[in-house]
């Protein structure tokens, strides 16, 4: 935590991207989270991903609820749209915004309390509807702002900083998302940007509900021995199923048959997800296989990370609804009230 703004000076090798911004231009205000918070690393990964994707900041809406994680949208993409909702209500506000204006890129940032406790109902429905968004949970297994009580994602048997054992079963948001029909599901670790940045990029390119559960250690209340969300524990138990390279659409695509051990998925925006397997039998296109794999490995205490599931044929909420091409907020009175004749026609068709 610092009172000083980050100096404006930057490394001379820092290059602008295709839309003329350097990585520093995607930063927000200086973070007021605790020093060493995993959430700050996630913010840095979002900044990196948006810079690499040449995203125009004004095309992004970042929404969040309440909590340490939900403070973070203030610390990245300072030139984007932002909205802090009531606790746990980010998904419904985001759904509304997305319905009204589908032309923006929606980034929902939430925490384990915001999504797995107070907002779990919102999370569930947002996933099953296929709202076109990146839903990012900064998961530290603890209520940091209220000084370290277990959250709903804390593993049974893990220990609090004060030494209390958690006896409740954990909510596994990844398993839930898979079951609820999310078309992009990933898990990562704030301490591994090499994995996290491509996942965020792939999620941004995905059309449909893209969910990323990021284990993000709380240095103040959940980074001790006995915790299953500490830097040390996650590093020791991290079972990464694949390496992801995102090949952006504008680059020439030459490979026809992916080499052995590589799975390629073409996304709607033309980008290619190239997945190099580290678990030989893991196919991220198989939803049920993924659910089984994750459950089995989780039982052994392993933290399964990587791109866990992606549906190449995903459809989003607007497609389900069959809404018009034009974002609804741009429709004029003439389109919205086409007149009695049209109403008459509709009524006739229903008789």
């Amino acid at each position: 935590m610092t009172y000083l703004a980050k100096p404006r000076l930057h490394h001379p090798s820092l290059k602008p991207n295709a839309v003329g911004f350097t990585r520093r231009d995607y930063e927000g205000r200086i973070s007021t989270l605790c020093a060493g918070c995993g959430h700050d690393s996630i913010s840095a990964a979002i900044i990196q991903a948006c810079w690499e994707l040449d995203i125009e900041p004004h095309r992004v809406a970042k929404l969040s609820g309440i909590g340490c994680s939900s403070k973070t949208p203030d610390y990245f993409l300072g030139q984007s749209h932002g909205f802090n909702t009531v606790h746990g209500r980010m998904p419904s506000v985001l759904t509304g915004a997305y319905l009204a204006n589908k032309s923006l890129l929606y980034l929902g940032v939430s925490g384990d309390g915001d999504s797995a406790s107070i907002g779990i109902g919102q999370f569930v429905h947002c996933m099953r509807r296929g709202v076109d968004m990146v839903y990012l949970v900064e998961n530290n297994g603890v209520y940091g702002l209220t000084k370290g009580q277990f959250s709903a994602t804390a593993d049974a048997g893990s220990k609090s900083k004060k030494g209390v054992l958690n006896t409740d079963s954990p909510v596994d948001l990844v398993a839930l998302a898979l079951q609820l029909g999310a078309s992009f599901v990933a898990r990562s670790f704030s301490g591994d940007k090499a994995q996290l940045v491509p996942l965020i990029k792939a999620a941004i390119g995905h059309r449909g509900a893209a969910f990323i559960d990021v284990i993000s250690p709380c240095v103040a209340f959940n980074n001790h021995t006995g915790s299953t969300k500490s830097y040390d524990y996650v590093r020791e138990h991290n079972d990464s199923v694949n390496f992801l390279d995102v090949i952006e659409g504008r680059e020439p695509i030459e490979i026809e048959q992916p080499p052995e051990g590589v799975i390629e998925v073409v996304q709607h925006d033309g980008s290619i997800l190239r997945l190099r397997r580290t678990e030989p039998d893991y196919d991220p296109r198989d939803r049920i296989g993924a659910m089984n794999f994750i459950a089995r490995h989780q039982e052994r205490g392993e933290v399964v990370t990587g791109l866990l599931f992606v549906d190449p044929q995903a459809r989003d909420f607007h497609q389900h609804l069959g809404s018009v091409q034009t974002p609804l907020n741009r429709l004029g009175a003439a389109e919205l009230c086409p007149g009695a004749a049209v109403l008459e026609k509709i009524n006739a068709s229903l008789r």
């Binding site: 100096p7 930057h10 490394h11 001379p12 820092l14 020093a35 700050d40 840095a44």
Partner: protein, 608 residues
């Protein structure tokens, strides 16, 4: 790469670019902070200890610190031309506003140690030796041919750059230590001097001979042609009051700049500087060239003098060949005639400032001191001892013409040599200075230094109006910073002496420092050979002259690698570090000067 040994005194010293570049290794950021704090006398004393002539150097130093200054590297993205902190001019502020520091000066020792040292010449090198040795009890005698001490400082630097009162004050502090100054006595025999039984002799007589230019017409028009340094000395002593209306100054060094600006003040209406080389290759400091041009003096380049033109025994002008530079196959730059006709420049007087030479006509060749084929004494570069064990050289007399700050550095080293020798100690085994590292942490985000980085551009030193300075050769041109401007300029100092110190076993590899670093200096990555490692850091480390700080053996098997090149020393890495693995620690290093600190005790042990 091997993990960095931060215990080595050179490692963090190199990070303090200004101090590392300074021949005397003055702790620059330390005194700049004191200036920002209004503690001018404290700032002055740090300087005085290290470089002996802060007031003089604050106006005339060659400033090797400024091209080295980190500001010049990090400001590329600040929206203005990168420029170093005005270190030299801040030094002058300390001298200008220090008040009376006489009470803080060491007293002449009540008791002498019985050893006698003689210095030949009363320039900056000799005076440094005298100060260092007199203060610790040596009896020091200084000889000079002139009536007043100072050497080059007094005779050649024009008064409009350096007022005499500044010289008098700072030489006064040295002579006040009980140094015996024998003025107006030029030494004309080394053998005689050796016979007088001094325990050590220091030769600091400078490079007193100005190079001449032997081309047609030199002898015929001799009355209007002068050697630059001799002419400057005559101006300084008031023997010369006027110069012709049209003056040509030959040469591109700082002496040429002093000559042309002096001529401009003594009636030279059309003063022209003519240089063989190009403008960029001129030896004069950029700011001295600027000052000359500001006074309406044109500098003409790529002209080689062919002849002095004269008529009836009077100089009328000069003839020059036009040349152009060409790089030959060996990469050497040559000046080739362009083939265009020679040009003539009319003039009434010519000042020749094409270099200086060493001359030791008073040292007999059989006095036991060997010279090399360039006529310079053979010296041990570290100890400055000549082939005669009792005779030491320093300043321009040692390795040819350099500048004041080098003379001071030589003086300190020679004084250490003499002190060790006369205490029966080996000259070459000198103690290395021990740096102090002290944490600057005061609280969660409180540091005992100002870590808010400004992007402000360098402040200009105010000048006195030209119509005033051009009519009075004693009127100082630069007015110096006032306290407000000095404070603003001091804010630009990046406090490079406040070091980022990394403790490996405290690090939990949370990446917080990597994310916050504004200059992308920090990486956590697999170790590798330096050349390859430099290419795959968070930002490439392209400046090979700046070190990588490597701490290998983290829990994940990676290494922490920090590129020291562009670090702003803002301390944000340490503020963001949850475990205190990063700390900001002030590095303070003072050179070892003559005195008990420079001795290792071997002489005492041997005697016992």
């Amino acid at each position: 790469m091997q993990s960095t040994d931060i215990g080595h005194p050179d490692y963090f010293h190199k990070v303090v670019d200004c101090q590392w570049a300074c021949p005397a290794h003055t702790p620059v950021p330390e005194y700049i902070r004191l200036i920002a704090d209004g503690r001018y006398a404290d700032a002055y004393m740090i300087n005085w200890k290290s470089n002996v002539f802060p007031g003089v150097l604050g106006r005339t130093c060659d400033r090797p610190c400024e091209p080295a200054c980190r500001r010049g590297r990090v400001e590329e993205t600040a929206g203005h031309t990168p420029e170093p902190v005005a270190i030299c001019r801040l030094k002058r502020v300390a001298a200008d506003y220090k008040g009376d520091v006489s009470a803080r000066m060491p007293d002449a020792p009540a008791q002498r140690n019985g050893k006698r040292v003689v210095c030949v010449g009363a320039g900056p090198a000799s005076l440094t030796v005298a100060r260092d040795l007199a203060a610790i009890g040596y009896e020091v005698v200084v000889y000079d041919g002139e009536s007043r001490a100072g050497g080059f400082i007094r005779t050649q630097i024009p008064r409009f750059r350096l007022p005499e009162s500044v010289i008098d004050e700072e030489i006064g502090y040295i002579l006040g230590l009980g140094v015996e100054f024998r003025s107006g006595q030029r030494i004309d025999s080394m053998k005689d001097l050796l016979a007088q039984g001094f325990d050590a002799i220091f030769v600091g007589c400078g490079a007193p001979r100005g190079r001449d230019l032997d081309i047609p017409g030199r002898r015929e028009a001799a009355a209007q042609i002068h050697i630059g340094i001799d002419w400057l000395a005559s101006v300084s002593f008031g023997h010369v009051h006027r110069v012709g209306r049209r003056v040509i100054v030959l040469g591109g060094g700082n002496t040429a700049m002093d000559c042309c600006r002096s001529a401009r003040r003594l009636g030279g209406e059309h003063v022209t500087v003519v240089v063989r080389s190009g403008f960029e290759e001129m030896k004069a400091s950029p700011w001295e060239k600027e000052d000359a041009m500001h006074e309406g003096i044109p500098i003409r380049n790529f002209l080689v003098p062919v002849a002095f033109l004269h008529s009836e025994g009077r100089l009328t002008g000069m003839q020059f060949q036009q040349v152009r530079p060409q790089v030959d196959a060996q990469g050497r730059r040559q000046l080739l005639p362009t083939g265009e006709p020679d040009i003539e420049i009319d003039c009434d007087e010519v000042l020749i400032a094409v270099g200086q030479e060493n001359a030791f006509p008073w040292i007999e060749r059989d006095a036991g001191i060997e010279f090399d084929r360039w006529g310079l004494p053979k010296l041990d570069e570290q100890t400055l001892q000549s082939t005669h064990p009792k005779v030491f050289f320093g300043g321009d007399a040692a390795f040819g013409p350099k500048n004041i700050i080098w003379a001071v550095a030589h003086g300190h080293e020679a004084a250490v040599s003499i002190d060790r020798m006369l205490n029966g100690e080996n000259l070459r085994e000198r103690p290395i200075p021990a740096p102090l590292l002290v944490s600057q942490k005061m609280g969660i985000h409180e540091w005992s230094y100002d870590n808010d980085i400004t992007t402000a551009a360098r402040n200009k030193v105010p000048w006195a109006p030209l119509e005033h300075t051009l009519n009075n050769i004693k009127a100082e041109v630069e007015l110096g910073f006032d306290p407000q401007l000095a404070w603003k300029e001091a804010q630009r100092c990046l406090n490079c002496d406040v070091q980022t110190v990394f403790t490996l076993n405290k690090c939990i590899e949370c990446d917080a420092c990597v994310d916050i670093c504004p200059m992308d200096c920090i990486s956590f990555t697999a170790n590798g050979p330096e050349a390859e490692l430099r290419t795959r850091l968070t930002a490439p480390a392209q400046n090979r002259s700046q070190d990588l700080y490597v701490a290998d053996g983290l829990k994940t098997g990676r290494a922490m690698v920090k590129d020291e090149d562009l670090c702003l020393h803002c301390g944000l890495c340490a503020e963001r570090c949850p475990t205190g693995a990063w700390d900001m620690q002030k590095f303070f290093l003072e050179m070892v000067h003559a005195g008990p600190g420079c001795r290792t005790g071997e002489g005492v042990r041997r005697a016992a």
